[in-house]
Amino acid sequence: MGSVALTGVMAKEAAKAAGPLAPQKPMLPARAKNVIMLFMEGGPGHMDTFDPKPKLNELHKTESKSTKSLASGFKFFVGSPFKFDRVGQSGIEMCDQWKFLRDPDVADELCNYRGCQAESLNHPEALFHMNTGSRLGADPAIGAWATYGLGTVNQDLPGYMVMTELAMPQGGSRNWSNGFLPAHYQGTRLRPEGTPILDINSQSYKSRDHQRMALDALNFLNAKHSAKHPEHKDLAARMESYELAYRMQMEVPGVIDLQGEPEHIREMYGMNEKDTAAFGKQCLMARRMIEKGVRFVQIFSGGWDSHDYLERGHSSRIKSVDKPVAALIKDLKQRGMLKDTLVIWTGEFGRTPDNNRRGGVYSLGRGHNADAMSMLLAGGGVKAGSIVGATDEIGSEAVDVKHPIRDFHVTLLHLLGLDDNKLTYFHAGRYKQLSQFGGKVITELLA
């Protein structure tokens, strides 16, 4: 046993010598190698997506005495506008708005987790919490921890890539920051329009040849300087950062240029339809990144904050992600990548069973609910075709297999072969970890 541990340590040290992002062996047997996290910003209503609550339809528009959400004044229950049924062999529940996810080929890969509880009722804090384990928005994101622990396979691309809509999610880049970890682990955002990575392209009047000439002249100056300062170890790393930048300029366009993808794949991801084109493109890019060896990919998709007009809001949001998510899972599966790739679909919290009057009228929407939510997991060692945990009769709070976000994070790391208690970084006088104070693996989620 001791010798195994020692080999692990040696491998880790050897890897470190090869650079901070060099691939490293997991600490534990890993079930997943990569993660694609689809973040539904705003908080999808669990009772309007995957967790049916017929009781709410009975109570529809009757008074609610709940004190859960922040709104005060008269509150009333809101039944879901959607019908639910069981799909696939496994009989997973989902609402009728999901037209593609219900394909048994996809549905039977899903694990619907209903026990997670957030803590914050406010978007940015809850986003920070789900993404970084801390509500304060200054700590490393899960993707940063994952690349810190495992490195990344492709040394010409960042290990942690993020895609957002044109508008950044609330809290912005702090949702994918390296926090106190070294800057190598920060998420690199691929911008949806314009330049994919800020300033990755040289000025339009400067060619690639021009750039090579410039780099060569710069290397001349820097080499002279480095020779004068052999004691200064950072200089070599800085030279390498320029060369990596030069390689990335070649590699990144290859990831985002989808022209080479066959038409049926583009169609499958919904790239030919207005409603799904944007998210579909990002899902397809995510698959390509994972293929190229990127460790952790996150896609943010907003607009789920339906305080009002829930039916219209949620049906259009579901429509925009349904086909792409289903395609992503199918595509990963047909390429044999799903077993190694953990796909997560989640928001920052769920929604309340009731609503307050807004603008003086009965508005059919829902408030923020930190006590209940619904997540989907697929691939990467999770129990396919299962429903894990439960919320109460009206979806007000989780009651079974109930776990705080930190346990979800610990589980995620566990799937990647990382032990949250060992994946630490000494900062400001203590060993910091993703879960902050430690947590438990949610064993019910594991295959």
């Binding site: 406010n122 800020l198 000025q203 021009h210 820097n222 339906s306 007009y309």
Partner: protein, 949 residues
């Protein structure tokens, strides 16, 4: 399942009899004082401490017999008399990968603790009765110092075990009084102390750095700017004549420069978390925060004694109001004078600005219940005060007594109580004569225009809606009611909520209403408000977009201050009076004898008393904290490695004697920071070279340079890079102070939509003229939700968290920014134009570029290689024609409308670009200039520009 069954019973029987009685007592003490506390702190959490929880692995450690029984996996966990056979030893040594206990790295036992366990087991694992344990504790508590360490008297923990625990004296170094070491040598005392340690380690100090290195080091260090070639030349000459005098004169000149305050205020703002907005989902404007930024700059420039600086920031408002009250004695008149603010004099005005420190943290009560919103604020401010002034992280004490430091939860809530009457407000306070009010008219006009646009658009939509509403009322034979009037009417007695508006218009109305607020709010930037505080009861409503003072509020109000058990508002515990940290044994002036750490519980004056205690010369945390920070910024490396955490778990000082010498000397000489700079900078330790003859050996034996055997090199900070470039290109406008300026930033980022609650924030638009834009970075508008990408790439810290030390890792985005961005391209063109003006031929131009950027001549080889490069580039640029960059005067935004989930568009105007004066760009200059600019850009990308030695 593991099976390690060993016959243990025989050993068990004999073990008790092995030791004589007195050693038995000793081992009982070992158990009670060492082993049991470890079990309870590290193990009981999962193994039996909680009656309602099944112990993990059915392994219960709470009694000897249960421990002996082992768990479901082990029966030989504890083998009394033989630590070698006890499996628990393998677990706590982390020798079995599957059973590393305790599992968290933070809780892992150290070698001494493991040895204690082994000794206890080898002694037969005695487990005295509860009574006996109590006797042992009582006997122990009467001794201040034992071989287990020292006891620290505090106001008391939540449990006796905490109250009477012991600390290793070296662990709680920071809580001990400062002891000034006697330095006999004639040397600078820093050198005497640093060198004595160095020679003990068998090393000689590095030689002195050369004059050019020294002036570059000192100039960046004190002003954040590079020296000019002329300054280098003059210094070099003076240095030949009399190095010490030249060096001393240089330091004096730099300390007297206005730029000194701009550089050192930046350090302070890093710690204090300065920003011009409030963060979180709304990221509301804190329109007048710039007044605090300028106050800090002035404080450094005027060398305000640090103790006074502390008091003003923590209690400036209390001092200002007491001072006003002295002039206006009548209570009612005084209250109205406070409310309208007009009668504050310059001095009082600046005191009110100083206490903006208490508004630095991100905070927004939106979507948070009021008590929680208050708690979030108070927790933040208590932690910020501990961290900033005393290098103590207070966050740990909120829920429990400090795990490692002698800081009980009670003290946390006593400091918390000192802030409980503190309410946040924008208060009207006249501008003082030294505040920069330039360009107010232009800024006001621009804001007014944006506000008018938003409110006109909003009104159009409201009119449309109300026209439909009128129609509805008429059709239903009811009298028209405005939206406000009809709000609480039943649904069937009023028109539909968004009558007459389609989803696009609904979306737009929401956006315009937000914008109307935003611009209205920004108009306040030009009014004499201060983002500050006052004392009073918690106001009825809390909304960060408008926080105003109610001076007439009940003056008799007192908060009910209590310990919040586990940090939960729902679990108020013991009542507490306001007070200070008890472990330091520094009493509060005028405190009652039986409670020397108590401060008064009147509505006013709590913070002042706390501030005076923090600024008390006997407070060892405060004085060590500031000298450690100053040292850190000079050397890029602190003496105590965690400037925000002097606690047991923070890095211990490499040179405690230097730290104490400087702290004592600082107080003896009137808390002046400029004097401290000079003391440090005139030391040889500061003036030594970054190279050392024994470098190989040093890198091996002291890789972190903890000996300060040579001067540690550092990368320039984000602001130094930007400001340094502007200085070198000749573009820098050195004007100080005033409303935040807005440099150009990557246009994609500037114009990208940024979500705020319900809407998209207005675009970032740069200031109109180069003159305004090209001022120093400290004056740049700082939005929490929108980092300047250039500065962020070079590790400017996120202002939500206090930054004790900046990161400087080299990552590829830095290369992208420096090589490709519009911002650095513009600098390179300005630089090229400057040298073309200064010198005629290519050789001289190259020389000039090197002089300005590197403050040295190019070598012959460099000169010819760079000339070849420029020629190569001239050929290249003759063949290309750069496009002209344009600036849009309006943009179309797209947003998903919340109600329908459908996207809609609206137009945003960017009036600043209507008569915008851009920097000179590639399209404005010829191929030769562009070729020269390419060279200039290389120098900005070089190691030599980027690093300081």
């Amino acid at each position: 399942m593991k099976n390690h069954i060993i016959a243990a019973s025989a050993l068990l029987i004999t073990a008790g009899g092995v030791f004589a009685d007195d050693s038995k007592a000793e081992f009982e003490r070992l158990f009670t004082l060492r082993v049991k506390p470890l079990l309870s702190e590290k193990c009981f959490g999962c193994h039996g401490g909680d009656l309602h929880k099944k112990p993990k692995g059915s392994f219960d450690l709470t009694t000897r017999s249960r421990f002996l029984k082992g768990g479901s996996e082990f029966s030989n966990a504890l083998v009394p008399g033989s630590s070698a056979q006890s499996y628990v030893m393998k677990m706590i040594k982390w020798e079995d990968e599957d059973y590393e206990m305790p599992p968290k790295k933070n809780d892992r036992l150290n070698e001494e603790q493991i040895a204690d366990f082994a000794r206890w087991i080898d002694a037969g694992a005695p487990w005295p009765s509860e009574e006996r344990q109590k006797e042992i504790h009582l006997a122990e508590q009467s001794k201040k110092r034992t071989k287990d360490g020292v006891m620290v008297t505090t106001s008391g923990g939540l449990a006796d075990e905490w109250t009477f625990r012991r600390y290793q004296p070296e662990d709680i170094w920071a809580f001990q009084p400062v002891k000034k070491p006697r330095v006999k040598s004639q040397m600078n005392p820093i050198d005497a102390l640093v060198r004595s340690k160095l020679s003990k380690a068998g090393f000689k100090p590095a030689p002195k750095a050369d004059a050019r290195t020294l002036i570059r080091r000192a100039t960046y260090d004190l002003t954040g700017l590079p020296p000019t070639p002329n300054q280098v030349y003059k210094f070099h000459q003076a240095y030949q004549k009399d190095p010490d005098q030249a060096w001393s004169d240089l330091i004096d000149r730099l300390l007297a420069s206005r730029h000194y305050g701009e550089r050192w205020a930046q350090h302070w703002l890093d710690v204090a978390r300065y920003a011009d907005t409030g963060g979180y989902s709304n990221d509301y404007e804190r329109s007048n925060m710039w007044r605090y930024r300028d106050y800090v700059i002035r404080a450094f420039n005027s060398d305000k004694p640090y103790n006074q600086f502390i008091i003003e920031q923590l209690a400036g408002d209390e001092l200002a109001d007491a001072s006003l009250n002295k002039r206006i004695k009548d209570w009612n008149k005084f209250q109205s004078a406070r409310q309208n603010g007009k009668q504050y004099n310059d001095k009082e005005s600046q005191l009110l600005v100083a206490s903006s420190f208490l508004r630095m943290g991100p905070w927004d009560p939106a979507m948070v219940k009021k008590p929680q919103a208050r708690q979030i604020y108070l927790d933040d401010v208590v932690n910020a005060v501990g961290q900033t002034f005393m290098s103590t992280t207070m966050r740990c004490l909120k829920c429990h007594d400090h795990k490692f430091d002698p800081l009980p939860t009670r003290d946390y809530y006593r400091v918390y109580a000192a802030f409980e009457p503190t309410q946040l407000a924008e208060r009207p306070v006249p501008f003082a004569k030294h505040e920069n009010l330039e360009r107010f008219e232009e800024g006001k006009a621009m804001t007014e225009r944006l506000w008018k646009f938003a409110s006109a658009k909003e009104q159009e939509l409201i009119d449309k809606r109300e026209a439909t509403a009128r129609k509805w009322y008429k059709e239903n034979n009811r009298e028209y009611k405005t939206q406000a009037q009809r709000k609480s009417d039943p649904d069937d007695e009023k028109p539909p909520r968004h009558a007459g508006l389609d989803y696009i218009e609904q979306g737009r109305l929401k956006v315009r209403a937000q914008d109307e607020w935003i611009w209205n709010r920004r108009k306040e930037r030009y009014q004499p408000y201060v983002q500050t505080v006052y004392n009073g009861p918690v106001p009825g409503g809390l909304n960060a977009r408008r926080l105003r003072m109610n001076a007439k509020a009940n003056n008799k109000w007192r908060p009910d201050s209590r310990i919040l058990t586990g940090g939960a508002l729902e679990a108020p515990g013991d009542q507490v009076t306001p007070g200070v940290l008890s472990a330091l044994a520094v009493p509060v002036e005028g405190a009652p004898k039986n409670d020397p750490y108590q401060i008064g519980d009147k509505l006013n004056g709590r913070r002042l008393a706390l501030a005076r205690w923090i600024a008390d010369e006997r407070n060892p945390l405060t004085t060590r904290s500031i000298v450690n920070r100053v040292w850190q910024y000079h050397f890029g490396k602190a003496i105590a490695g965690n400037p925000n955490n002097f606690g047991v778990k923070g890095s211990k000082p490499t040179h405690p004697r230097v730290l104490d010498y400087l702290a004592a000397d600082f107080v003896e000489n009137g808390w002046t920071i400029k004097r401290l700079h000079k003391l440090i900078m005139t030391s040889m330790t500061y003036q030594q070279s970054g190279k050392h003859p024994d470098m190989e050996k040093l890198l091996n034996e002291d890789p972190k340079n903890n000996l300060f055997a040579y001067f540690p090199s550092r990368r320039l900070s984000a602001e130094e890079i930007r400001d340094g470039m502007l200085k070198i290109t000749g573009e820098l406008n050195t004007k100080g102070g005033g409303v935040p300026i807005k440099p150009e930033m990557n246009m994609e980022v500037a114009l990208q939509p940024r979500m705020i609650q319900f809407s998209i924030a207005p675009a970032y638009t740069p200031s109109r003229t180069p003159d305004e834009r090209n001022r120093r970075s400290i004056y740049a508008y700082r939005v929490r939700g929108l980092a300047n990408p250039f500065l962020e790439t070079f590790n400017r810290p996120n202002p939500n968290d206090s930054c004790e030390e900046r990161d400087a890792a080299s990552v590829s985005p830095q290369a992208f920014t420096l090589l490709n961005s519009d911002v650095t391209t513009a600098r390179s063109i300005a630089f090229a134009l400057r040298v073309e003006k200064d010198a005629d031929n290519l050789t001289d131009q190259i020389k000039r570029v090197f002089h300005l950027a590197f403050t040295r001549h190019p070598s012959a080889q460099e000169s010819s290689r760079m000339a070849a490069y420029v020629k190569e580039m001239r050929t290249y640029h003759k063949k290309v024609k750069p496009e002209r960059k344009t600036y849009p005067t309006k943009i179309t935004r797209s947003l998903v409308e919340e109600f329908s989930g459908k996207p809609f568009e609206y137009e945003e105007i960017l009036p600043v670009f209507e008569n915008y004066i851009p920097d000179k760009q590639a399209a404005d200059v010829g191929p030769n200039t562009r070729a020269m600019a390419d060279l200039c850009l290389l120098l900005f990308n070089s190691h030599e520009f980027m690093y300081l030695y």
